[in-house]
């Protein structure tokens, strides 16, 4: 009798103890991103003071290491209460289709998020008519950064088309300046740059079609993109394999290189180095297109503290949460109803474009295709950097698409 009672008390107190916790899993450990996360925690703690936040972060760029840890936990039946995931195919293919997530359409209805976020982003967090995660920020992948001083010194204009790009690059090269900074040490950076070339050559519709079969990989425009990319690679720093993306940005900061194609997390890097002489245009041919990726959080099935997670997601989607987080992180809010004037200059321009431009999903950052496709894509382009064989590479890209179940005939 007493034993039973003790057991009941133990179980109940365990449940109560659990109910006052929330474990949030992410790879935000550095500078601005960790500060942004802390802002979210502060807001959450103010609203729900009794809940203990467990900040489960795993360091590593683009989440490469965190994703491995997350996978073992999810498969082992021990999901964190909520976790960071790139909105789009990484979320849908890896976690939603496989039945690990709970839909949160009810939250979108309650909070009215579907009215304040653009269709481009709502599309990539939904599947089968339900919403599956809350996008907390938007990054832009197709930006060409340049060193203003170098451009002024030689009287150059930042290039908007591929033609202008090659003209400018030739002039810079003749002055002994690296035209395009590139870092390929972590394997994804070249594929990231190539993604913007694909967009530049195929346009928004053509590029989006690559990932659902409407555009064939055998398309002559893909050939053109590969040839153009091979030509661009003649203007990059010779030590690119020794540099990571931020070490490539360092070449711009040091004035050794003039341009760089990178996502807008580069801004955070420039600020951190006290470097303000940078300018930006869109990657060549990307006029009017916003190549987007988004970090988001969802509700895993079997989350131990479901109520707390739902409340946390409310904070993520709220005006207050998105503002506090993104000012620190250097990205822009997914919501479009936040006062632009509160943000620094680059973010203001990105927020404007977010409303006007056509949104396409970034492949290298998990929005456009499944993780397995992205891995194969990245590998083939990495090989292309060393051996720019257009024919073989295009055939490989076709084969990958076929293996992914996207017919190419």
């Amino acid at each position: 009798m007493w034993r039973k009672l003790a057991l009941i008390i133990a179980v109940v107190s365990a449940v109560v103890a659990f109910a006052s916790k929330i474990e949030i899993f992410s790879w935000w450990t550095a500078g601005g991103e960790a500060e942004g996360l802390q802002e979210l925690f502060n807001i959450y703690s103010k609203l729900y003071p009794g809940v203990e936040i467990i900040n489960a972060t795993v360091a590593g760029g683009a989440g490469a290491q965190a994703k491995a840890v997350l996978k073992t936990r999810m498969l082992g039946g021990d999901p964190p209460d909520t976790f960071q995931v790139h909105a789009g195919h990484e979320l849908i293919d890896t976690w939603v289709k496989t039945g690990f997530m709970e839909p949160i359409t009810f939250l979108y209805k309650e909070e009215g998020w579907d009215k304040v976020m653009p269709k481009g982003i709502l599309d990539i967090v939904s599947y089968n008519g339900e919403y599956w995660s809350v996008p907390v920020n938007i990054h832009r992948a197709n930006v060409l950064w340049y060193n203003k001083k170098i451009f002024e010194k030689y009287g150059l204009k930042p290039p908007k088309t591929f033609e202008e790009f090659f003209q400018v690059a030739e002039i810079l090269k003749s002055h002994g300046i690296i035209p395009l900074a590139l870092g390929t040490k972590d394997g994804w950076e070249a594929a990231h740059a190539f993604e913007t070339v694909l967009i530049g050559k195929l346009g928004a519709e053509g590029y989006k079609g690559l990932w659902n079969g409407k555009t064939k990989w055998s398309d002559p425009r893909v050939t053109d993109a590969l040839e153009t990319f091979a030509k661009m690679l003649q203007y990059v720093n010779s030590d690119h394999a020794a540099r990571t993306w931020d070490e490539a940005c360092a070449l711009i900061v040091e004035g050794k290189a003039a341009m760089n194609i990178m996502g807008d997390w580069a801004v955070g890097y420039f600020y951190a180095k006290n470097f303000y002489d940078f300018g930006w245009v869109l990657a060549p041919g990307n006029e009017g297109i916003f190549d987007a990726l988004s970090d988001s959080f969802g509700l895993p099935k079997g989350a131990k503290n479901r109520e707390n997670v739902i409340n946390f997601l409310r904070v993520l989607g709220s005006k207050e949460g998105q503002l506090a987080f993104n000012i620190k992180k250097g990205s822009i809010p997914a919501r479009t109803d936040i006062d632009r004037n509160l943000f620094p200059e680059y973010q203001r321009s990105a927020m404007e474009d977010w409303l006007r431009h056509e949104i396409v999903p970034s492949v290298m950052h998990g929005a456009a295709a499944s993780e397995s496709w992205v891995t194969e894509f990245k590998d083939v382009i990495s090989l292309f950097v060393a051996r720019p064989d257009v024919k073989t590479t295009q055939r490989a890209l076709v084969n990958i698409a076929i293996a992914q179940g996207v017919p190419q005939q």
């Binding site: 490469a64 890896t94 976690w95 690990f100 030590d239 993780e371 397995s372 891995t375 060393a386």
Partner: protein
Amino acid sequence: MKTDRILSILFILPSLILVGIFIYGFIGWTGWVSMVNWRDVFPDFTFVGLRNYARLFQHFRFVISMKNTLVFTVLFLLFSISIGLLLAILLDRKVRFEGFFRTVYLFPMAVSFVVTGVAWRWILNPGTGGESVGLNWLLERMGLGFLKSGWYTDPNIGIKAVVIAAVWQMSGYVMALYLAGIRSIPNELYEAAQLDGANVFQLYRHIVLPLLRPVTLSAVIILGHISLKIFDLVFAMTGSGIGFSCDVPALFMYDTTFRGNYFSQGAAIAMILLMCVAALIVPYLTYSIRTEVRR
């Protein structure tokens, strides 16, 4: 006597069970996963036989990384063992401050492969033109500019640059092994050889080296299995490198499994790695067990 026996079995049993589950059980599990169709986070246990292995041999990254492993292993063993042996012989010549040198040579081993990788990434940095850094800078200053190289960013050198870092890390350890081996040779043998009028070269050639053969064998086994499954050094130093010129199977396995979600294919790579290590270790084990039995 009998209780002794029971007690000793009881003492060993827990570790036997743990080893059984966590080593052999999981090897078996990995073997099973490598023969099913698990290519998504969600397990799919449809049996496909050896299809994952067949696919692997057609994958360009696998072919490149296996070739790299072969090159890496041969060079790594060759240089670590010969440099280690040389250092040990030199130290054995009763040098002053022997303890100091021993520590210096052994020190790299105390550093983790990750730290080694990061440090050598910068030492071998392929700085361009006049702004070279690290080793290239040094070579230039010494008037040896023609030796400058792209190191691991040169697809023709690639994995060989990683070998330099690995040799730096492990040759001190080989030295320690050999030094212990040399010191365990009884003095009488030296004296007898000297009485017979052997010079230093003959002494090493006919007395020391033959007696060091077991040490060489252990060094080959230890370095060999490190080299076959190397991951951390390459991961920290170069990643896969230009056109995968530094890629190794363990890196490919990590990418395949945890980035690409091809769990079955990742398991197949792991099994092949295991077989390579086994091909090295099993003959050694049978050899040493046989010699023990003979005793």
